[in-house]
Structures are given as structure tokens and as C-alpha cells.
Symmetry: C2
Subunit: 152 residues, 2 copies
């Protein structure tokens, strides 16, 4: 546990609250890049605690791993990220968050317009042709979830 030897994956898990398997997965996804000790075990920098924490927060904010990876690409790989680095990213995230909130509020307002009118027929309801209908028409599942299904 000498300070200069880096943290083991178990220590990282204990300190972030992530599962060991999740951390390994994040490495596969390129979100952290531990080195290996003589025996082939992963060793992490202290700065990786921040990186992982950032991943957790970003997930809560609704970003996919791919998006998080893109966002973190700007972070220095070898230097510990500075306050300025995190702030820059946080600002970007705030903008995305704001957009998400605005979209939900818009949806809520449309729904308000429909409550009571019973108009859930295809011709008239404003909910059917939202402004952003151009997007979200690809194939594959399109999630929009809010919280863990386990909570229900």
C-alpha cells in the first residue's frame, strides 16, 4: 500500500462504489488506462478515482459510455486533470443537462394541453408530432428512461 505504487482494482472499487467488473469494463471501453505491475495486475493512478467518479456522475446525467469517452478525450492522459479541465467538461455537461430538462418540460407542457381533452387520437394531438420528430427515427431501441427499473 505504498503511496507510489498505485491503487489496485479492489481499492478503486472500494473507494468509488463501483463493482470490480464494472471498472474492468470501463478499461475495455477506454475510460481509464491502468498500467500493470510485475504480476500482471492493474494499478491505477489516484487521478483515475476522479475519472471513474466522473463516469458515474455522467451516467446519472444520462450520458452513454460513448459520449463520456468523447467528453473525456480532452482530458490529459498522463497529467492529473486540473480543476480547469473538469470545469470545462462540467460546463459542457450542464448544457446537455439543460437541454434534456427543456425537452422534458416541453413534453410536460404538451401533455398538459392534452389532459382532459381525451384527444389521444392520431389526427389532432400535439404529442404525436413533436418539434423534434426529425430525430429519433433510427432503428434499434431508443431509450429515454428516467430511473432504475429496479426502483419500481
Amino acid at each position: 500500500m505504498a503511496a507510489s505504487e498505485g491503487l489496485s482494482i479492489g481499492e478503486m472499487a472500494a473507494r468509488t462504489g463501483l463493482a470490480v467488473s464494472a471498472i474492468r469494463y470501463y478499461e475495455d471501453e477506454g475510460l481509464v488506462q491502468p498500467w500493470r505491475n510485475a504480476g500482471g495486475q492493474r494499478r491505477f493512478q489516484r487521478a483515475d478515482l476522479r475519472r471513474l467518479s466522473f463516469v458515474m456522475i455522467a451516467q446519472r446525467l444520462g450520458f452513454s459510455i460513448a459520449e463520456i469517452r468523447a467528453e473525456m478525450a480532452d482530458l490529459p492522459r498522463h497529467r492529473a486533470p486540473s480543476k480547469a479541465d473538469w470545469s470545462r467538461i462540467s460546463v459542457a455537461f450542464r448544457a446537455r443537462l439543460e437541454a434534456r430538462i427543456a425537452a422534458l418540460e416541453d413534453l410536460r407542457d404538451r401533455l398538459d394541453g392534452c389532459i382532459g381533452c381525451g384527444c389521444l387520437s392520431l389526427e389532432a394531438c400535439a404529442l404525436y408530432n413533436p418539434a423534434d420528430s426529425a430525430a429519433t427515427r433510427g432503428s434499434g431501441p431508443r431509450y429515454l428512461l428516467g430511473d432504475a427499473p429496479a426502483a419500481k
Copy 2:
């Protein structure tokens, strides 16, 4: 195309914008219950257009199929749902939506507190121990997404 014979799955797809396969899936999930004609093909009531539309909207609002099924369980199966039926459900949905918005705003406010302080270390940051930490600790993936990944 006589009015009394019900709608084919292809007609339903054309009028809702859903894929035929999605409609069959929704039947498997118990969201609609078409009958079969002599040849074994599905025939839908006109009210099923509303049901499917409702499913689409609810998905946009972030509800899972299981939640939607639960919400729609109150709807009459044999009578076409009335305005009052839809309104009742819409009100419930609005509450859920509001909750989701509030959660995001809360997160945004926490993030605001962290921008610039660079405090993404585990000890101090308010983002790490949100009020709802009790929930969301089960296993399995916990989604929280905002919009389609295809959009990126």
C-alpha cells in the same frame, strides 16, 4: 376494408408509424389484444390505435413497457376507452414526468455547485451522495438516458 372487420396489422403500422414487428411485440407484452380472422391474421379495434399511440407517448416520457402495461391495466378491455380514462392516466403520467424533471434539476443544481471548484474528488462533492442514494443500487444496468443514441 369494411368498417366492421377491424384493422390489419399493416394498417395499424401505417397509421401509428410503428413497425409491424413492434406491434407484434406489444401484443406479446400484453399491451394490445387483437382477435384473429378466419385465416389467423390479427385484426385490431380502432381503440387500439389509441392504445398504441399511448404506448408511444409513454415511451417518450420515459416509461418502460412494464410500467405502461401496469398503467393501462386500468383501461377497459372491451369498451373503447373514454376521455375520462385517458385523462386519469395522463394525470398520473404528468406526476411521474414532474418527478423526473425535478430530479434532473436537482442534479443540475448540484453540478452548478461543483463547476469551477474542481472538487470531483470523493470526499466533498455533493454529486456523490445524492439524496436518493438509497435507490438505484440493485444489479443490472440502470438506465437514465435522455434521447436516442442514434441522434449523436
